[in-house]
C-alpha cells in the first residue's frame, strides 16, 4: 500500500488524496484560509505551506536510492508547497510547522502579510469567536507587526444584497464567497474587483447579491468581511447555545444548528451532513428563526363573539376540549394531521383519536410545483410529508379536506395553517366546532373556537422524514414555562450552563412560551376522558412508533444521533407532485 511520512510518522493511504485534506483527516493540523473541501482549490491564501520531498529512484531498476546511512535519498522541492494543491505520492516526505522551522517561519511571514491590511480590532469585529484568522494568528502568527505605514482602507458596510453586508477592509481575498456563487449556487453573482491589496468581492454594477443561498458565504468567510445583515452585531457566539436541529421550511430537511441566547433563537446555520445538505442551506431556512420567538400561541384561548379570543387556564382548556368530545359522536370528527408537524406529533395525535373511535387522521401535502430548484430548495413546503405517509395518515387533496370538514361536527387541526395556505377559508368551518393545536398564531387559529398552544421544533425532541426518505431528529433549544433546562437531558449545554451560576439570571421568564408538548397535553386530556393514553416523553412516543411500523424497525433516537439520521427503506421517496 502506498505510504507517506508526515512529520516523521508513517501513514498508509489508498486512492488519490490532496495533502492538506489528508493531513486534516489524520487529525493533524496545518493552518489554511482559502481551502474548502467542497470547492475548487485556488491555493491563493498561501497559508498551508509545507516542506515536501519525494524519494529518488534509480531510473533503470526502479529501486529507491539510499544515502550512506542506508536511508532513502529525498529530493526536496526547492520552495515550500501549498499542501492544499499537492497530490499525495508514494514515499512522499512532508514536514509541517511542527517539525520544520522554515515552514513555521513561512507561515508566520504569511500571516504578517495578511494582517498588515486587516484591521486588528477583534473585540469589535462581528466575527470574533468564530474567526479562523483570529485563531490562526493566535497559534501561528507573528508576535507583532513591522508594518508602520498606512493601511489600505477598503469600503465598509456595503450592502451587497438584501441579506449580506460586506466590510471589505477585513477581506483577505480567499475567494471562497466568489467560488461559492460560481461552483455551488451557480448564480455567479460575486466577483473580485480591483487589483492587488485593493481587491475585494463585489457584485456586477447595478446587480444585487440576492442569491437564494447568499448567507452561506457568511458562514464560509474566514474573516469578518461578510456578515448577515440580520444577525450582524446582535449577539456574540460565546454567549449563545448551539443546538442541532432540522430545517422545517421545506422538504429537504437540511441539518442546521439553532443558536439561542436568553431563550430566543437568534440565528440558524447549516450543520454539515454529506448525505443531505453538505455544508449549505437556503436563506429561507435561516429566516425561519423568527417564528420560534415571535407570534407564538402562548396559553390556551377560547373564541368569544366574532373573532376575539380570550386566554384561559390549562384546566379550563382540557375541560372545554373534553366536553366538546363528549357532546359528539367521535365518528363525526374530522381529524387533520400535518406535514408541518413531527412524526411523533402526528402519531400521538392520530393514536389519541383512534382510541376515541374517530376516523383515521387525514392530511394534505403542502406542495408548490416549480418552487424548488435542483439543489436544496424543494417544491414541498413541509418537512414531514413522507413522515405522514409512513405512519399511514390518509393523504387527501384540498377537496378531500373540504368534504371531511363539511361532514364533520368537530374539526381538530394539528399545526397546519390550512386557511393561511388557502386550502380552506374561514367560512368552511364556520358551522363546526374547530380546535387548533398550534405553535403560532395563524389565520387558522384565528378562525378556531379553541386554541391549544403546543411546543415547536425549537422546544422539543422530534423526528422528520425528508423527501428522500431520511429520518432525522431535532433537540430542544429553548425552554418553555414548564421545562427545566438542567433536568431536560435533551437540551444542549452552553457556556452559561457549564460555568454560569444561578444568579446569572440569563433566561428571562418573559421569553418562555406557555405551551406543552403535544403528547403531554393529550396525556392530560386522556386522563380527563379516562383513556389509556400516557407517554412519558418524545422518546417513548418514538419507541412505540418503531415497534409499530416496519420501516422504522431498528431506528432509534440513538441511531439517528450516531449516524446523523437514518435512510429508511421507503419506495419512491420523492414527493409525489400534487
Amino acid at each position: 500500500m502506498p505510504e507517506v511520512f508526515i512529520d516523521g510518522k508513517r501513514y498508509e493511504y489508498e486512492g488519490d488524496h490532496m495533502l492538506l485534506q489528508f493531513i486534516l483527516d489524520q487529525g493533524l493540523e496545518v493552518p489554511f484560509f482559502c481551502y474548502h473541501p467542497s470547492m475548487s482549490i485556488p491555493a491563493n491564501c498561501r497559508q498551508c505551506m509545507v516542506k515536501v520531498g519525494t524519494p529518488v529512484k534509480d531510473r533503470e531498476t526502479g529501486e529507491y536510492e539510499l544515502d550512506e546511512n542506508g536511508k532513502r535519498k529525498i529530493r526536496w522541492f526547492p520552495k515550500p508547497q501549498t499542501s492544499c494543491s499537492t497530490p499525495l505520492q508514494d514515499g512522499m516526505v512532508v514536514h509541517t510547522q511542527e517539525t520544520s522551522e522554515e515552514i513555521e517561519r513561512a507561515q508566520k511571514d504569511n500571516l504578517e502579510f495578511i494582517l498588515i491590511n486587516h484591521p486588528l480590532d477583534c473585540p469589535i469585529c462581528d466575527q470574533a469567536g468564530e474567526c479562523p484568522l483570529q485563531i490562526q494568528t493566535y497559534k501561528y502568527g507573528p508576535e507583532g507587526s513591522r508594518f508602520e505605514v498606512k493601511k489600505v482602507h477598503r469600503p465598509k458596510r456595503v450592502q451587497l444584497g438584501p441579506r449580506v453586508v460586506l466590510d471589505a477592509e477585513r477581506c483577505i481575498n480567499c475567494t471562497r464567497c466568489v467560488r461559492f456563487t460560481e461552483e455551488i449556487s451557480e448564480t455567479n453573482q460575486l466577483t473580485i474587483v480591483k487589483r492587488g491589496a485593493d481587491n475585494y468581492p463585489m457584485t456586477g454594477p447595478g446587480e444585487e447579491f440576492d442569491d437564494p443561498y447568499s448567507l452561506n458565504t457568511v458562514d464560509i468567510c474566514p474573516v469578518g468581511a461578510l456578515t448577515s445583515a440580520d444577525f450582524r452585531f446582535k449577539a456574540r457566539v460565546w454567549e449563545m447555545n448551539q443546538t442541532p436541529s432540522i430545517d422545517i421550511t421545506n422538504g429537504k430537511g437540511c441539518n442546521i444548528d439553532l443558536w439561542t441566547r436568553d431563550n430566543e433563537v437568534l440565528r440558524i446555520t447549516p450543520r454539515q451532513n454529506p448525505e443531505v445538505n453538505d455544508y449549505w442551506m437556503p436563506d429561507a431556512g435561516r429566516e425561519a428563526y423568527e417564528q420560534f420567538n415571535e407570534n407564538r400561541v402562548s396559553r390556551p384561548s377560547i373564541k368569544l363573539d366574532g373573532n376575539n379570543h380570550s386566554n384561559t387556564s390549562w384546566n379550563n382548556a382540557v375541560e372545554t376540549f373534553a366536553e366538546a368530545i363528549e357532546a359528539h359522536d367521535p365518528k363525526d370528527f374530522a381529524v387533520i394531521g400535518s406535514p408541518h408537524a413531527s412524526v411523533e406529533e402526528n402519531y400521538a395525535f392520530n393514536k389519541f383519536f383512534n382510541l376515541l373511535g374517530s376516523p383515521n387522521a387525514i392530511f394534505t401535502p403542502h406542495i408548490i410545483p416549480g418552487y424548488g430548484d435542483d439543489f436544496l430548495i424543494t417544491d414541498d413546503q413541509a418537512p414531514n410529508t413522507n413522515g405522514c405517509r409512513l405512519i399511514n395518515l390518509d393523504e387527501v387533496d384540498e377537496n378531500g379536506i373540504k368534504t371531511a370538514i363539511k361532514e364533520a361536527e368537530i374539526v381538530v387541526i394539528l399545526s397546519d395553517d390550512l386557511v393561511g395556505r388557502e386550502v380552506l377559508t374561514a367560512e368552511d368551518f364556520s358551522d363546526t366546532y374547530t380546535i387548533s393545536l398550534a405553535t403560532n398564531k395563524t389565520d387558522t387559529t384565528k378562525a378556531s373556537d379553541l386554541v391549544i398552544p403546543i411546543t415547536c421544533i425549537a422546544e422539543h425532541a422530534a423526528s422528520y422524514v425528508n423527501i428522500n426518505g431520511r429520518i432525522q431528529r431535532s433537540y430542544p433549544a429553548k425552554e418553555t414555562k414548564y421545562t427545566n433546562r438542567r433536568l431536560n437531558l435533551e437540551m444542549s449545554e452552553g457556556r452559561l450552563d457549564r460555568y454560569g451560576t444561578d444568579f446569572d439570571n440569563w433566561v428571562s421568564e418573559d421569553n418562555k412560551v406557555d405551551c406543552l408538548p403535544l403528547w403531554e397535553f393529550l396525556n392530560h386530556l386522556g386522563d380527563r376522558l379516562g383513556l389509556e393514553f400516557n407517554f412519558e416523553h418524545s422518546r417513548s412516543v418514538f419507541s412505540e412508533l418503531s415497534d409499530h411500523f416496519e420501516a422504522l424497525e431498528n431506528v432509534s433516537y440513538q441511531k439517528m444521533d450516531e449516524e446523523q439520521g437514518v435512510q429508511l427503506p421507503i419506495e419512491n421517496t420523492e414527493v409525489k407532485q400534487a
Binding site: C45, R46, F113, V149, R195, G196
Partner: protein, 429 residues
C-alpha cells in the same frame, strides 16, 4: 558571431518598404517556409518540424528563455479533441516594447511562424493575445490575418491540403498579469486574469482544459527563418547558448532609443554606445536594467565584457529577460527608479496570492517613505526581509519579479539608499 553584429542584416524586421502588405511579403519569400512544410509533409512531418526547431536551440523571447522546440514537444498526442496555440503579444513590462515592431513591420512573418508551430503541434485554433493599447497594430495585425485567410494560408484546407487552422485575435485590457501565461489563458477564457496553479501545465490542461502551448510573438517570428535556412544556419547566429536574431528594445538616457535587431550576444556597452548612440548629453553611464524592469540592474562598472546572452548576463548577476534594456545616466536617482518599479508591481499585482498582494504594497510604501526623506536605516533591512518573505511563495513569478529589483538595487546602490535614510536622523542636542 556576435562580434560581427555591425555587418548584420535584419531578418525579423528587414528594411523592406510595406512588408506588412501580403503581396510585398510574398514577393520577398513570404510564406515560403509554410508552403515548404505543407507541400512535403513527409519530409516535414510534425515531429521533424519540432526536431528542427529544437535543434536550432531557439530560446523563448518572452523572458524566461526556455527552449521553444522542447516546449512544443510537451504537447500530448492528439486525442481527437481541440488543441490550441496561444500567442503572447501582451508585452507591458517597463522597458519591453519589441513585439510591436513585428506587428508594425512584419506581421506576416509572425503569422507564418504561428502556422508552422500550429501545424507541428496539430492545433486547431491559434489565439493571439495582443495588448489592447496597441490599437493601430491590432488593426494592422487583423488586416494581415484577413489577407492570409483570403490567400488560403489560414482556414479550412490550407493551400488545398487537409491541414486546417483558425486564427483569432483577442485584446488585453491593460493588465500586466495577463502576460503571465496561465493568467493569459484565464483571460482568453473570458475570466479575470488570475494565474493558475501548476501542475497541471498548459500542455496538459490549457485553454478550456485542452492541450495548449503559449509562445511569445518574437519567438514565433523566428520559426520561418529556421525552416527556410535550417537549424545549423540558425544556430550560427549570435551566441551559441542563446542563438538567433534578437530585438533589442533600448530606452532611457541614450541618444537614439528604439528597437534594434541584431544577433544575440552583442556586447552591452556596444549596444549603448554604438547602436543607441551613447548617453545623451555626453554624461556618464550609471546603470542598466538589461531585460525589462524585473531583471536585476547592473552598475556601469559591472558591464565590462558582458554580452547580451543569458549566460553572460547571469554571470554578471542579472538576466536577459526580454532584452528590453533601460539605460540610466549618472544623474539618475536610484531611489526614485526603484520606487517607480515597485509602484508598477504594486499596481499590477493581481492580488490572488497573499505574499504578492500585501508584499508589493508594503515594499512601495516603505520606498515612498525613504524617497520622502522619512526613511530609517532599519527600513532597508525591512525591504530585503519583506522581499525574502515574498520570493518563491506565490503561484506565479510576479512577486519574484517585484522582489529582484528591490534586492539588487539596494545591494548594488546601497550608499544612495543609506544617504537618503540618514537625512532623516535627528541631531542630538
Amino acid at each position: 558571431m556576435a562580434q560581427d553584429w555591425k555587418s548584420y542584416e535584419p531578418l525579423l524586421i528587414p528594411d523592406i518598404p510595406n512588408l506588412q502588405e501580403i503581396d510585398v511579403y510574398e514577393d520577398n519569400d513570404g510564406y515560403k517556409a509554410w508552403k515548404k512544410v505543407l507541400s512535403d509533409q513527409n519530409k516535414w512531418s510534425r515531429n521533424n518540424v519540432i526536431n528542427e526547431v529544437k535543434a536550432a536551440n531557439i530560446r523563448g523571447r518572452g523572458g524566461a528563455g526556455f527552449n521553444a522546440g522542447l516546449k512544443w514537444s510537451f504537447m500530448p498526442e492528439p486525442d481527437g479533441g481541440p488543441r490550441y496555440l496561444a500567442c503572447n503579444g501582451d508585452e507591458s513590462e517597463p522597458g519591453t516594447f519589441k513585439d510591436r515592431k513585428i506587428f508594425e513591420y512584419n506581421p506576416h512573418l509572425f503569422i507564418e511562424g504561428a502556422l508552422i508551430a500550429g501545424y507541428a503541434m496539430k492545433v486547431d485554433v491559434i489565439y493571439v493575445y495582443i495588448r489592447g493599447e496597441y490599437i493601430s497594430w491590432v488593426h494592422q495585425l487583423q488586416k494581415a490575418v484577413d489577407d492570409a485567410y483570403e490567400k488560403g494560408y489560414l482556414g479550412e484546407n490550407i493551400l488545398g491540403t487537409d491541414v486546417s487552422m483558425e486564427m483569432e485575435l483577442t485584446y488585453g485590457a491593460g493588465a500586466y498579469i495577463c502576460g503571465e501565461e496561465t493568467a493569459m489563458l484565464e483571460s482568453l477564457e473570458g475570466k479575470r486574469g488570475y494565474p493558475r496553479t501548476k501542475p497541471p501545465f498548459p500542455a496538459q490542461k490549457g485553454l478550456w482544459n485542452r492541450p495548449t502551448t503559449i509562445n511569445n510573438i518574437e519567438t514565433l517570428a523566428n520559426v520561418p527563418l529556421i525552416i527556410n535556412n535550417g537549424a545549423d544556419w540558425y544556430g550560427n547566429i549570435g551566441s551559441e547558448e542563446h542563438p538567433g536574431p534578437i530585438l533589442y528594445g533600448i530606452s532611457g538616457h541614450v541618444n537614439r532609443p528604439g528597437v534594434y535587431e541584431y544577433p544575440s550576444g552583442v556586447p552591452v556597452l556596444d549596444l549603448i554606445n554604438e547602436v543607441a548612440g551613447g548617453i545623451r548629453g555626453g554624461k556618464e553611464l550609471k546603470a542598466i536594467i538589461p531585460g525589462g524592469s524585473s531583471t536585476p540592474p547592473l552598475r556601469a562598472d559591472q558591464l565590462e565584457g558582458v554580452t547580451m546572452n543569458s549566460d553572460s548576463l547571469k554571470d554578471a548577476g542579472s538576466m536577459m529577460g526580454t532584452a528590453g534594456m533601460v539605460v540610466m545616466d549618472e544623474d539618475t536617482d536610484m531611489v526614485e527608479v526603484l520606487w517607480r518599479i515597485a509602484h508598477f508591481y504594486k499596481h499590477e499585482s493581481c492580488g490572488q496570492c497573499t505574499p504578492c498582494r500585501e508584499g508589493t504594497g508594503w515594499l512601495e510604501k516603505v520606498l515612498i517613505k525613504i524617497k520622502n526623506g522619512e526613511g530609517e536605516m532599519k527600513d532597508l533591512d525591512l525591504l530585503l526581509d519583506v522581499g525574502n518573505q515574498m520570493e518563491g511563495r506565490t503561484i506565479c513569478a510576479l512577486a519574484d519579479a517585484a522582489v529582484w529589483p528591490v534586492r539588487h538595487t539596494i545591494n548594488r546602490f546601497r550608499d544612495e539608499f543609506e544617504a537618503r535614510c540618514k537625512k532623516s536622523a535627528h541631531a542630538v542636542a
